[in-house]
Protein backbone atom coordinates (compact mmCIF):
# COMPACT_ATOMS: atom_id res chain seq x y z
CA UNK A 1 0.00 0.00 0.00
CA UNK A 2 1.51 3.30 -1.08
CA UNK A 3 1.48 6.49 0.98
CA UNK A 4 -1.20 7.92 -1.32
CA UNK A 5 -3.42 4.85 -0.93
CA UNK A 6 -3.04 5.02 2.86
CA UNK A 7 -4.01 8.67 2.67
CA UNK A 8 -7.18 7.81 0.74
CA UNK A 9 -8.18 5.23 3.36
CA UNK A 10 -7.52 7.82 6.07
CA UNK A 11 -9.54 10.39 4.13
CA UNK A 12 -12.48 7.96 3.85
CA UNK A 13 -12.47 7.24 7.59
CA UNK A 14 -12.23 10.96 8.43
CA UNK A 15 -15.05 11.64 5.97
CA UNK A 16 -17.19 9.04 7.76
CA UNK A 17 -16.64 10.87 11.05
CA UNK A 18 -17.11 14.35 9.57
CA UNK A 19 -20.38 13.48 7.81
CA UNK A 20 -21.65 11.79 11.03
CA UNK A 21 -22.07 8.44 9.21
CA UNK A 22 -20.07 6.58 11.86
CA UNK A 23 -22.10 8.18 14.64
CA UNK A 24 -25.45 7.55 12.90
CA UNK A 25 -24.70 3.89 12.23
CA UNK A 26 -23.39 3.24 15.75
CA UNK A 27 -26.39 4.94 17.41
CA UNK A 28 -28.86 3.14 15.10
CA UNK A 29 -27.20 -0.22 15.88
CA UNK A 30 -27.26 0.48 19.62
CA UNK A 31 -30.93 1.51 19.44
CA UNK A 32 -31.80 -1.71 17.59
CA UNK A 33 -29.84 -3.64 20.23
CA UNK A 34 -31.98 -2.06 22.97
CA UNK A 35 -35.38 -2.00 21.22
CA UNK A 36 -35.32 -5.67 20.11
CA UNK A 37 -35.14 -7.37 23.55
CA UNK A 38 -37.48 -4.76 25.04
CA UNK A 39 -40.09 -5.33 22.31
CA UNK A 40 -39.90 -9.09 22.81
CA UNK A 41 -40.11 -8.75 26.60
CA UNK A 42 -43.03 -6.30 26.67
CA UNK A 43 -44.93 -7.67 23.64
CA UNK A 44 -47.47 -9.66 25.74
CA UNK A 45 -48.19 -6.53 27.83
CA UNK A 46 -48.55 -4.34 24.73
CA UNK A 47 -50.89 -6.78 22.94
CA UNK A 48 -52.88 -7.44 26.13
CA UNK A 49 -53.32 -3.70 26.62
CA UNK A 50 -54.85 -3.47 23.13
CA UNK A 51 -56.98 -6.56 23.76
CA UNK A 52 -58.27 -5.16 27.06
CA UNK A 53 -59.91 -2.22 25.31
CA UNK A 54 -61.81 -4.67 23.09
CA UNK A 55 -62.60 -7.08 25.95
CA UNK A 56 -60.50 -9.79 24.33
CA UNK A 57 -58.24 -12.06 26.39
CA UNK A 58 -55.03 -12.95 24.59
CA UNK A 59 -52.73 -15.66 25.90
CA UNK A 60 -49.03 -16.00 25.08
CA UNK A 61 -46.50 -18.78 25.36
CA UNK A 62 -43.35 -18.16 27.38
CA UNK A 63 -41.25 -15.40 25.83
CA UNK A 64 -37.61 -16.51 25.57
CA UNK A 65 -34.30 -15.15 24.30
CA UNK A 66 -35.12 -16.70 20.88
CA UNK A 67 -37.94 -14.14 20.50
CA UNK A 68 -35.51 -11.37 21.38
CA UNK A 69 -33.00 -12.59 18.77
CA UNK A 70 -35.79 -12.88 16.18
CA UNK A 71 -36.76 -9.25 16.83
CA UNK A 72 -33.09 -8.27 16.56
CA UNK A 73 -32.80 -9.95 13.16
CA UNK A 74 -36.11 -8.47 11.92
CA UNK A 75 -35.15 -4.95 13.02
CA UNK A 76 -31.69 -5.19 11.50
CA UNK A 77 -33.07 -6.78 8.32
CA UNK A 78 -35.41 -3.83 7.78
CA UNK A 79 -34.25 -0.65 9.59
CA UNK A 80 -30.53 -1.56 9.50
CA UNK A 81 -30.58 -2.39 5.79
CA UNK A 82 -32.43 0.81 4.81
CA UNK A 83 -30.15 3.03 6.97
CA UNK A 84 -27.00 1.40 5.54
CA UNK A 85 -28.23 1.86 1.95
CA UNK A 86 -29.11 5.53 2.71
CA UNK A 87 -25.62 6.06 4.12
CA UNK A 88 -23.63 4.33 1.40
CA UNK A 89 -25.59 5.24 -1.76
CA UNK A 90 -23.74 8.53 -2.14
CA UNK A 91 -20.29 7.10 -1.37
CA UNK A 92 -19.05 7.31 -4.98
CA UNK A 93 -21.99 8.79 -6.91
CA UNK A 94 -22.21 11.70 -4.43
CA UNK A 95 -18.51 12.42 -4.93
CA UNK A 96 -19.01 12.36 -8.69
CA UNK A 97 -21.71 15.02 -8.28
CA UNK A 98 -19.69 17.30 -5.96
CA UNK A 99 -16.47 16.80 -7.93
CA UNK A 100 -14.24 15.26 -5.25
CA UNK A 101 -13.63 12.06 -7.28
CA UNK A 102 -12.46 14.14 -10.23
CA UNK A 103 -10.09 15.94 -7.84
CA UNK A 104 -8.68 12.58 -6.68
CA UNK A 105 -8.35 11.08 -10.16
CA UNK A 106 -6.04 13.83 -11.41
CA UNK A 107 -3.47 12.41 -8.95
CA UNK A 108 -1.74 9.06 -9.56
CA UNK A 109 -4.61 7.21 -7.89
CA UNK A 110 -6.49 4.41 -9.61
CA UNK A 111 -10.22 3.85 -9.41
CA UNK A 112 -9.47 0.51 -7.69
CA UNK A 113 -7.61 2.32 -4.88
CA UNK A 114 -10.63 4.58 -4.38
CA UNK A 115 -12.99 1.60 -4.21
CA UNK A 116 -10.67 -0.34 -1.85
CA UNK A 117 -10.58 2.69 0.47
CA UNK A 118 -14.40 2.75 0.43
CA UNK A 119 -14.51 -0.97 1.30
CA UNK A 120 -12.03 -0.49 4.19
CA UNK A 121 -14.08 2.39 5.59
CA UNK A 122 -17.20 0.22 5.25
CA UNK A 123 -15.44 -2.46 7.34
CA UNK A 124 -14.62 0.09 10.06
CA UNK A 125 -18.20 1.37 10.02
CA UNK A 126 -19.76 -2.09 10.27
CA UNK A 127 -17.42 -3.36 13.00
CA UNK A 128 -18.03 -0.26 15.16
CA UNK A 129 -21.80 -0.39 14.76
CA UNK A 130 -22.15 -4.12 15.27
CA UNK A 131 -19.95 -4.00 18.37
CA UNK A 132 -22.35 -1.38 19.76
CA UNK A 133 -25.42 -3.47 18.95
CA UNK A 134 -23.83 -6.64 20.34
CA UNK A 135 -23.09 -4.85 23.60
CA UNK A 136 -26.60 -3.43 24.09
CA UNK A 137 -28.46 -6.48 22.73
CA UNK A 138 -26.21 -8.85 24.71
CA UNK A 139 -26.69 -6.97 27.98
CA UNK A 140 -30.47 -6.45 27.67
CA UNK A 141 -31.17 -10.04 26.56
CA UNK A 142 -28.91 -11.46 29.29
CA UNK A 143 -30.70 -9.30 31.87
CA UNK A 144 -34.28 -9.96 30.70
CA UNK A 145 -34.11 -13.57 29.52
CA UNK A 146 -32.41 -16.38 31.45
CA UNK A 147 -30.25 -18.89 29.58
CA UNK A 148 -29.07 -16.50 26.87
CA UNK A 149 -25.99 -18.06 25.18
CA UNK A 150 -23.71 -15.01 25.04
CA UNK A 151 -20.71 -16.60 23.30
CA UNK A 152 -22.84 -18.19 20.59
CA UNK A 153 -24.48 -14.80 20.07
CA UNK A 154 -21.09 -13.14 19.46
CA UNK A 155 -20.17 -15.88 16.96
CA UNK A 156 -23.60 -15.67 15.27
CA UNK A 157 -23.15 -11.94 14.68
CA UNK A 158 -20.52 -12.77 12.06
CA UNK A 159 -23.39 -13.71 9.73
CA UNK A 160 -25.02 -10.35 10.34
CA UNK A 161 -21.68 -8.70 9.62
CA UNK A 162 -21.37 -10.64 6.35
CA UNK A 163 -24.94 -9.66 5.39
CA UNK A 164 -24.28 -5.95 5.94
CA UNK A 165 -20.89 -6.21 4.25
CA UNK A 166 -22.70 -7.61 1.20
CA UNK A 167 -25.31 -4.79 1.28
CA UNK A 168 -22.52 -2.19 1.67
CA UNK A 169 -20.37 -3.60 -1.15
CA UNK A 170 -23.36 -3.83 -3.51
CA UNK A 171 -24.32 -0.20 -2.70
CA UNK A 172 -20.74 1.04 -3.27
CA UNK A 173 -20.43 -0.96 -6.52
CA UNK A 174 -23.72 0.41 -7.88
CA UNK A 175 -22.79 3.89 -6.63
CA UNK A 176 -19.54 3.64 -8.63
CA UNK A 177 -21.50 2.70 -11.75
CA UNK A 178 -24.15 5.43 -11.73
CA UNK A 179 -24.09 9.23 -11.71
CA UNK A 180 -26.65 9.99 -8.99
CA UNK A 181 -26.82 8.70 -5.39
CA UNK A 182 -30.57 8.11 -5.64
CA UNK A 183 -30.02 5.67 -8.52
CA UNK A 184 -27.54 3.73 -6.37
CA UNK A 185 -30.11 3.59 -3.57
CA UNK A 186 -32.90 2.38 -5.86
CA UNK A 187 -30.54 -0.14 -7.50
CA UNK A 188 -29.45 -1.63 -4.18
CA UNK A 189 -33.03 -1.77 -2.91
CA UNK A 190 -33.89 -3.64 -6.11
CA UNK A 191 -31.07 -6.16 -5.62
CA UNK A 192 -32.07 -6.60 -1.97
CA UNK A 193 -35.75 -7.19 -2.88
CA UNK A 194 -34.73 -9.59 -5.65
CA UNK A 195 -32.48 -11.51 -3.24
CA UNK A 196 -35.34 -11.69 -0.72
CA UNK A 197 -37.75 -13.01 -3.37
CA UNK A 198 -35.10 -15.45 -4.62
CA UNK A 199 -34.78 -16.73 -1.06
CA UNK A 200 -38.27 -18.22 -1.41
CA UNK A 201 -37.35 -20.27 -4.50
CA UNK A 202 -36.38 -23.79 -3.47
CA UNK A 203 -33.58 -24.44 -5.99
CA UNK A 204 -31.60 -21.17 -5.73
CA UNK A 205 -33.07 -19.75 -2.52
CA UNK A 206 -30.49 -21.19 -0.09
CA UNK A 207 -27.73 -19.30 -1.97
CA UNK A 208 -29.36 -15.88 -1.50
CA UNK A 209 -27.49 -13.43 0.75
CA UNK A 210 -30.89 -12.51 2.25
CA UNK A 211 -30.71 -15.90 3.98
CA UNK A 212 -27.67 -14.84 6.04
CA UNK A 213 -29.62 -13.25 8.95
CA UNK A 214 -31.50 -16.55 9.41
CA UNK A 215 -28.13 -18.18 10.11
CA UNK A 216 -27.83 -16.00 13.22
CA UNK A 217 -30.92 -17.64 14.79
CA UNK A 218 -29.77 -21.08 13.65
CA UNK A 219 -26.31 -20.63 15.16
CA UNK A 220 -27.64 -19.28 18.47
CA UNK A 221 -29.95 -22.27 18.77
CA UNK A 222 -26.93 -24.54 18.41
CA UNK A 223 -27.56 -25.87 14.90
CA UNK A 224 -24.69 -26.00 12.39
CA UNK A 225 -24.74 -23.15 9.89
CA UNK A 226 -25.41 -23.67 6.17
CA UNK A 227 -22.63 -22.95 3.68
CA UNK A 228 -24.88 -22.11 0.70
CA UNK A 229 -25.65 -18.46 1.65
CA UNK A 230 -21.94 -17.84 2.30
CA UNK A 231 -20.94 -19.21 -1.11
CA UNK A 232 -23.81 -17.35 -2.82
CA UNK A 233 -22.79 -14.08 -1.12
CA UNK A 234 -19.11 -14.54 -2.06
CA UNK A 235 -20.00 -15.10 -5.74
CA UNK A 236 -22.40 -12.14 -5.78
CA UNK A 237 -19.82 -9.85 -4.17
CA UNK A 238 -17.13 -10.86 -6.69
CA UNK A 239 -19.53 -10.08 -9.54
CA UNK A 240 -20.53 -6.70 -8.11
CA UNK A 241 -16.95 -5.67 -7.30
CA UNK A 242 -15.88 -6.65 -10.84
CA UNK A 243 -18.79 -4.88 -12.54
CA UNK A 244 -18.46 -1.81 -10.28
CA UNK A 245 -14.72 -1.49 -10.95
CA UNK A 246 -15.16 -1.92 -14.71
CA UNK A 247 -17.94 0.66 -14.94
CA UNK A 248 -16.09 3.10 -12.69
CA UNK A 249 -13.00 2.75 -14.90
CA UNK A 250 -15.05 3.55 -17.99
CA UNK A 251 -16.64 6.62 -16.38
CA UNK A 252 -15.56 9.95 -17.80
CA UNK A 253 -15.70 12.97 -15.45
CA UNK A 254 -17.29 15.20 -18.09
CA UNK A 255 -20.13 12.71 -18.78
Amino acid sequence: MTFLEKSIVKKEILEMVRTSRLLIWTVVCMIIGIVSPLTAYYLPDIISAFGATENIAISFGKITYQDSVEQYIKNFGQIGTIVLILMMMGSVAGEKVDGSVQFLLVRPVGTISILVAKFVSLLVLLVTGLLGSMLTMGFYTWYLFPGFPGFRFIYANLFLFLYFFAIGIITIAISASVRKPILAGIGTLGVWLLASIMGAIRSIGPFSFAKLPEQVIQTIEGFPFEWQPIVGTAILLCLFILAGTMLFNRWEPND
Partner: protein
Amino acid sequence: MDTQTIVLLLPLIILELVLKIICLRDWLHRERFKGVPKSAWLLIFLFINLFGPVVYLLYGRKTDGDY
Protein backbone atom coordinates in the same frame (compact mmCIF):
# COMPACT_ATOMS: atom_id res chain seq x y z
CA MET B 1 -44.81 2.27 34.46
CA ASP B 2 -42.54 0.58 37.04
CA THR B 3 -38.98 1.58 37.93
CA GLN B 4 -37.41 -1.33 35.99
CA THR B 5 -39.15 -0.29 32.76
CA ILE B 6 -38.02 3.33 33.19
CA VAL B 7 -34.41 2.26 33.85
CA LEU B 8 -34.48 -0.06 30.83
CA LEU B 9 -35.90 2.66 28.58
CA LEU B 10 -33.49 5.35 29.79
CA PRO B 11 -30.51 4.47 27.47
CA LEU B 12 -32.91 4.44 24.51
CA ILE B 13 -34.20 7.90 25.39
CA ILE B 14 -30.62 9.17 25.90
CA LEU B 15 -29.47 7.82 22.50
CA GLU B 16 -32.46 9.38 20.73
CA LEU B 17 -31.81 12.68 22.56
CA VAL B 18 -28.12 12.59 21.59
CA LEU B 19 -29.12 12.35 17.91
CA LYS B 20 -31.64 15.19 18.25
CA ILE B 21 -29.17 17.45 20.12
CA ILE B 22 -26.49 16.87 17.45
CA CYS B 23 -29.05 17.77 14.77
CA LEU B 24 -30.24 20.84 16.70
CA ARG B 25 -26.67 22.13 17.21
CA ASP B 26 -25.93 21.70 13.52
CA TRP B 27 -29.28 23.24 12.51
CA LEU B 28 -28.68 26.35 14.64
CA HIS B 29 -25.28 27.04 13.05
CA ARG B 30 -26.20 26.26 9.45
CA GLU B 31 -27.55 28.61 6.82
CA ARG B 32 -28.00 26.35 3.79
CA PHE B 33 -30.22 23.29 3.63
CA LYS B 34 -31.19 20.76 0.99
CA GLY B 35 -34.68 19.89 -0.19
CA VAL B 36 -36.98 21.62 2.27
CA PRO B 37 -36.76 24.93 4.22
CA LYS B 38 -34.84 25.28 7.49
CA SER B 39 -37.99 25.19 9.68
CA ALA B 40 -39.22 21.98 8.01
CA TRP B 41 -35.94 20.22 8.84
CA LEU B 42 -36.42 21.20 12.50
CA LEU B 43 -39.83 19.53 12.53
CA ILE B 44 -38.46 16.46 10.71
CA PHE B 45 -35.66 15.68 13.14
CA LEU B 46 -37.59 16.68 16.27
CA PHE B 47 -40.79 14.77 15.60
CA ILE B 48 -39.76 11.76 13.49
CA ASN B 49 -37.91 9.37 15.76
CA LEU B 50 -34.71 7.71 14.53
CA PHE B 51 -35.28 8.25 10.78
CA GLY B 52 -35.78 12.04 11.17
CA PRO B 53 -32.27 12.74 12.57
CA VAL B 54 -30.73 10.12 10.23
CA VAL B 55 -32.23 11.72 7.11
CA TYR B 56 -31.33 15.24 8.32
CA LEU B 57 -27.68 14.36 9.05
CA LEU B 58 -27.27 12.48 5.78
CA TYR B 59 -29.26 14.59 3.34
CA GLY B 60 -30.42 17.81 5.01
CA ARG B 61 -27.14 19.67 5.31
CA LYS B 62 -25.85 21.66 2.37
CA THR B 63 -22.07 21.84 2.20
CA ASP B 64 -19.77 23.99 0.06
CA GLY B 65 -19.50 21.16 -2.48
CA ASP B 66 -23.28 21.06 -3.04
CA TYR B 67 -24.82 23.12 -5.82
